[in-house]
């Protein structure tokens, strides 16, 4: 997986691309550090270009939500295909502020 991030005055956006699997736990650790260092109160994780996620990847997303639960709003958006299905079946909408795409 590769990721990039951008921020405006209110929101830090993390864009994930490729596959989020156990192999990416080191990279995801960097993402957690990036979120921790940024002052923005909202963090949007854009999953539009994320094509695959495994169980470890799901665990990392929930971990991210819980780690920053007290001081940041974590939003997932644009999940589609396999990733969207996994989030939907796992009822991630009950854990996250989430916006699904229709495709």
């Amino acid at each position: 997986m590769i990721y990039k991030h951008k921020s405006d005055e209110t929101t830090l956006t993390i864009i994930l691309k490729g596959s989020l699997t156990f192999a990416d736990y080191g990279i995801f650790g960097q993402i957690l550090d990036t979120i921790a260092k940024n002052k923005e109160k909202q963090c949007t994780i854009d999953l539009e270009d994320l094509e695959h996620i495994d169980s470890a990847g799901l665990g990392m997303l929930i971990l991210c939500k819980e780690r920053f639960n007290s001081n940041k709003r974590i939003l997932l958006k644009n999940a589609k295909g396999h990733v969207g299905k996994m989030l939907e079946l796992g009822k991630f909408n009950e854990i996250f502020d989430i916006h699904f795409t229709n495709n």
Partner: protein, 181 residues
């Protein structure tokens, strides 16, 4: 009215039984998600612990270097004190005392080193076990929910059709009976 199925002596409808099954499956998914999250959390915690341990090891090495220098300083002081008979006896005693303290301190750092190595080994082994567990992809258990939902929907549709069929059949039989009468 009798239910469609008997579960542990209780007659319940298909709709209720399948709804319970779906809820139980959803609870299992929640348990799986909790395990996925905890596994990854533990891995990050272990990474942090190992990083802290490495910093600690470097600090111990620095203490060892200080011990080493103190030891030679005390040795030189003792040699100088022995050379000159006029040197104050108390200075000789202090030099000897410092050397002993340095030796004691060095022995303690050796023990700490051994203990840190043991902790390091344990953490590395734990991390390896946890990695083996976490890298197994269990997402199929979540995808199975989709399959279950499809099965439930199919069974309920068949059940509804079957009930409708029975109703029509019974109605036709009733009409036939009234004609016969």
């Amino acid at each position: 009215m009798a239910g469609d199925v008997n579960i542990n002596g209780e007659e319940i409808s298909y709709v209720e039984a399948l709804g319970t099954l779906q809820n139980k499956f959803l609870n299992s998914i929640n348990c799986f998600l909790e395990i996925f999250k905890q596994s990854m959390g533990m891995l990050y915690n272990l990474d942090n612990a190992l990083e802290s341990l490495n910093k600690l090891k470097k600090n111990i090495v620095e203490i060892e270097q200080i011990n080493h220098k103190t030891k030679y300083l005390a040795l030189n002081a003792a040699i100088e004190a022995a050379r000159d008979e006029n040197t104050n006896k108390s200075f000789q005693a202090i030099a000897s005392e410092i050397r002993e303290l340095s030796n004691n301190s060095n022995n303690i750092t050796i023990i700490i080193h051994q203990q840190l190595s043991a902790i390091n080994d344990t953490l590395n082994k734990t991390q390896a076990i946890l990695k083996n567990i976490a890298q197994v992809d269990n997402s199929e258990h979540i995808l199975a929910k989709e399959y279950l939902d499809q099965i439930v929907q199919g069974i309920l549709q068949n059940h509804q059709q079957s009930k409708a069929g029975t109703f029509i059949k019974n109605t036709l039989n009733l009409e036939k009976t009234s004609y016969d009468l």
